[in-house]
Amino acid sequence: CAGNQSREEDSQLSEQQLYQNIQQALDDGRYSRAVTLLETLDSRFPFGEYAEQSQLELIYGYYQVNNWEATRAAASRFIRLHPDNPQVDYAYYMRGLAAWQSGRFSLETLELIDISKRDLGATRDAYVDFGEVARRFPDSPYAADARQRIIYLRNVLARHELQVADFYLRKEAYVAAVNRGQWVIDYYPQTPASRDALAVIVEGYMGLNMPAEAREALAQLINNDPDNARLDGDTFDPRYVGGSLSLKGS
């Protein structure tokens, strides 16, 4: 018996009037009102004239009310329903942005908490979505911003790998350390962290006392990052492992 009176007056409006009210609410910045109206429009006229446009505005509305999950869900739905709609790059971009926001951490700006040390689920999602925008829509208005954010995210992910590699070096688990270093070089080659990854690989091989492989990595390190902190000329002094290594066989 409990009908949904609350949406009574909205459900009488025609598609046209509903859309007007939505534009009005959006212009006035009354985003939660706009979101409810958009949801009504979406349920009453799923295939109406404004269907696609209203779904895009719904993504924008959810984003404005900081509802990251709903933004991502609405964006995914738009991408699924209208894969070749000219505005689909906007959906990918907003989905990435929502993941980016949920990955941020309030204290992060205070540099008190280094998010590269924390759970990077959201960061990875953002990285994938922005990658989609940059790759498939190179000349979309959002591509430039996406590329910037990709660089930032990539550094965070690479720094995370290095921290774990460092832990395993201290723990004397050298195979683990080398593999973590290798991961940075495979997946995040352009990041500054990839140079420190080489240093980790050198130190890991030294730990395993495999000088040949260590020198191979050292050669790479020297010509990629000659003034790396661990380098003094072409000898490498490790952070934890004993001894030092120079390029010329010793």
Binding site: D42, F47, E49, R118, V164, R180
Partner: protein
């Protein structure tokens, strides 16, 4: 026949946009089409799921597409469901594509109706009936009504097991969860409601009952379920063939065992001559699988193959072992640690990356994470690495919970009245895993400034280092602890060493400078002590302790045990030593939520060297929360002797140099609360008291009111109900307790609570 399409005209569209039809139609203007292309087009349009009917025709050379749109659902109204909650129903409907805004497919509606009826039937609600109706709302929109009549549950009137010779029906029915009697408590706990799943479960229990008692060939021939004409009673008949009993024959191993046979035999619980038992077989295969898992064979498969030889009535068992490839762990990932740092988790993991996988290490590590007390839940799962079959990645998924307390402005502990000031105590400070305690508090009796910092992993091998500083000034003028006050300032450092998987040793040094003074109504003991020993004590204390712990959770544990023994030796202005032992043991009963908890705390302290008596402010106290609940805090012990002429008459206590405390608790699941990890309720019996091996001197013109010696009949007992709750602000502890052997002069307190201190 084919023709050149000059134009395409779409009719019957109401709300679907023409664009959608055009890009779904495989034909476009100026194509030449034949009958076959037209029928494909019809099928394509139908596949969009938007149309109930699609008709394609010709008008000259114009292709006419006449569609009848499927209505879209404006709302779904569900009536009469009480057994199945509405949101689960709606979720089911949405999954099946029946949701507001979606297109109505009548076939899905019928399918949903049959599905619902099947669900009710499996719950024994045979007389349930569901009818659905669709109301037109105009503009091709419809209102869907689902009217459910759940009917009554058929009650089991009889379960009859036919063909059982060696065990009678009653013994067998004890193993069943279903019963043919209404519950003993107004049918509240009745389990005579028929459900097919439960019957299946009971048949399995019956089968394992026989298989665990040697009936290798036991079989259930058939089961009949019949219902009375008025659909209110269910009769279950189970026809069984027991077969005869067998004992275990000899045990052998086949396949590539990877561990030596003697060790394998020790793990296996099968002894020839013992009665055959299926659960022994399962336990043995599990033990072997775990042993192989520890050796890196994470994917080992072990099957126990019983071979019955009728001749001597014995069953020989062959354990066929297939170790599978040796497994290695490539990467270990963590999810959910939004504040705790990766290293704080990773250092607890005994399994390393780039190393052989050990199922023990992987599951032990989950336990270690849980014991940190930072997480509400810890789950672990392993995923194989693509195209490298013998490598796997391990992911620990944690859900963080507040692991400390921030009581910024106001705290209240009954024994000290209102506490002002701020205190932050965090066991996972900013997610670094370090334990930080910063506190500034003043209350009626004391001012307390403290700072302590401990890093559990000063070295990666688990050596911990901690240091602290404190300033404490107290004035026990009219509190229960006798009438004197002490001011102290001190600090120290301590180190902890792991000496095995389970236990640790710690050493520490603490320097303190303390001053005592008393008031005119202070008891004779204090005055005499200060007169003879002085009122200023600069001391250094060397402390060493041993701890063994395997509680199953860091906070509110329900299983495992914890022991801590410590010896502190103090030198300087006062010389004394203190021995302390704390032990806790928990036995989970049925599920983890019920458990029995036994705890004890014993203490003995005495002066050495130049000091005659243990300084009274170092005495043990008893009574109150975390000790003997139901008695006012710190009021158990020998009475003090009032000095002649002093007006103080209520007999405070000085505590004692011997402490005996113990408690037995039954922890039960808190009703109406589903997250049992944040709350713990229990019935308890506490016991305890403090004693003085020899009374303090009281000077010559007074007779001491204390009687020395430890007399266990003086132990005070109390019983009551306790609740601890981990709130975001900090742990909250309540208890209501009634003393059982209260003596005159004891001060009791029925209701006690405290915020911010875990006991």
């Amino acid at each position: 026949v084919s023709f050149q399409v000059s134009d395409i005209r779409v009719e019957g569209l109401q709300r679907v946009s023409a664009g959608t039809v055009f890009n779904a139609l495989p034909i476009s203007a100026r194509d030449s089409v034949n009958d076959e292309a037209i029928s494909n087009a019809g099928r394509a349009l139908f596949a969009t799921g938007l149309f109930d009917d699609v008709r394609l025709g010709r008008d000259g050379d114009v292709l006419v597409v006449d569609v009848e749109e499927r209505p879209s659902i404006a709302g779904i109204n569900i009536e009469g469901n009480s057994q199945i909650p509405e949101d689960r129903l709606r979720q089911g409907l949405t999954d099946a594509g029946l949701a507001e805004g979606q297109v109505l497919q009548r076939s899905t509606l019928e399918e949903m109706q049959r599905e619902l009826e099947r669900v009710y039937q499996s719950q024994g609600r045979y007389s349930a009936s569901i009818n659905t109706s669709v109301e037109e709302l105009g503009q091709n929109r419809v209102q869907v009504n689902i009217d459910i009549n759940e009917g009554s549950v058929a009650r089991i009137r009889q379960i009859n097991i036919v063909g059982n010779e060696d065990f009678d029906d009653a013994t067998l029915l004890d193993q069943f969860e279903l019963s043919d009697r209404p519950g003993w408590f107004f049918g509240w706990f009745s389990s005579d409601q028929y459900s097919r799943e439960q019957l299946q479960g009971d048949l399995d229990r019956l089968r394992s009952w026989y298989l665990d008692r040697g009936y290798v060939n036991f079989s259930i021939d058939s089961t009949q379920v019949s219902i009375s004409p008025d659909q209110s009673s269910i009769f279950v008949t189970i026809n069984v063939d027991e077969g005869n009993r067998y004992d275990f024959g000899d045990v052998s191993f086949a396949g590539d065992l990877q561990i030596d046979e003697t060790r394998a035999r020790s793990l296996v619980q099968v002894e020839s001559g013992k009665t055959f038992s299926q659960s022994d077989l399962t336990a043995s295969t599990e033990a072997l699988r775990q042993a192989l898992g520890a050796e890196g064979f994470a994917f080992a498969q072990i099957d126990a193959m019983p071979q019955v030889n009728e001749a001597d009535g014995r069953v020989d068992v062959v354990f066929r072992v297939n170790p599978g490839r040796r497994a290695y762990v490539r990467r270990i990932n963590f999810q959910g640690n939004t504040t705790t740092a990766d290293e704080v988790l990773r250092r607890e993991i005994t399994q390393l990356e780039g190393a052989p996988a050990s199922t023990d290490a992987i599951s032990d590590s989950q336990q270690r994470l849980e014991r940190l007390g930072f997480f509400r839940s810890v789950e672990v799962n392993t995923q194989p690495v693509a195209d490298t079959p013998d490598q796997l990645d391990v992911t620990y998924n944690v859900e963080e919970q507040p692991s400390g307390s921030i009581s910024a402005s106001l705290g209240f502990a009954q024994s000290e009245g209102i506490i002002y000031g701020a205190s932050l105590s965090q066991r996972n400070f900013l997610g670094t895993g370090n334990r930080v305690d910063i506190g500034a508090q003043t209350s009626r009796y004391y001012t307390n400034l403290r700072f302590s910092f401990t890093d559990p992993y000063w070295t990666l091998d688990g050596i911990s280092r901690g240091y602290n500083l404190y300033y404490r000034s107290t004035d026990y003028e009219d509190s229960d602890i006798s009438t004197y006050s002490t001011d102290a300032i001190g600090g120290g450092v301590s180190f902890g060493y792991p000496i095995s998987d389970l236990s640790r040793v710690n050493f520490g040094l603490n320097l303190e400078s303390l001053s005592v003074d008393y008031y005119n109504d202070s008891p004779a003991e204090i005055v005499e002590f200060v007169d003879s020993e002085g009122d200023n004590f600069d001391t250094a204390t060397l402390s060493t302790g041993w701890t063994r712990n395997n509680l199953n959770r860091g906070t509110l544990p329900t299983a495992g045990s914890y022991q801590n023994a410590s010896l502190d030796v103090t030198g300087g202005d006062a010389q004394f030593y203190k021995l302390r032992y704390r032990g806790r043991k928990l036995f989970p009963i049925k599920t983890e939520e019920w458990s029995l908890r036994f705890a004890t705390e014993l203490g003995y302290a005495d002066s050495i060297g130049g000091t005659d008596n243990l300084p009274f402010y170092e005495n043990f106290y008893s009574g109150g929360l975390g000790s003997v609940r139901g008695f006012r805090s710190n009021t158990l012990g020998q009475p003090t002797t009032p000095r002649p002429g002093s007006r103080d008459d209520d007999d405070d206590t000085l505590g004692g140099n011997v402490l005996v405390e113990g408690s037995a608790e039954l922890i039960f699941p808190t009703p109406f609360i589903d997250d049992q990890r944040q709350v713990q309720t229990s019935f308890f019996i506490d016991a305890g008291n403090t004693y003085l091996t020899d009374c303090y001197p009281v000077g010559d013109n007074v007779t001491s009111a204390c009687s020395s010696g430890v007399d266990l009949s003086d132990l005070r007992y109390s019983a009551g109900l306790g609740l601890s709750w981990l709130t975001p602000v900090g742990p909250l502890t309540f208890s209501v307790a009634r003393p059982l052997n209260e003596k005159d002069g004891d001060e009791t307190q029925f209701f006690q609570f405290s915020l911010g201190q875990t006991f």
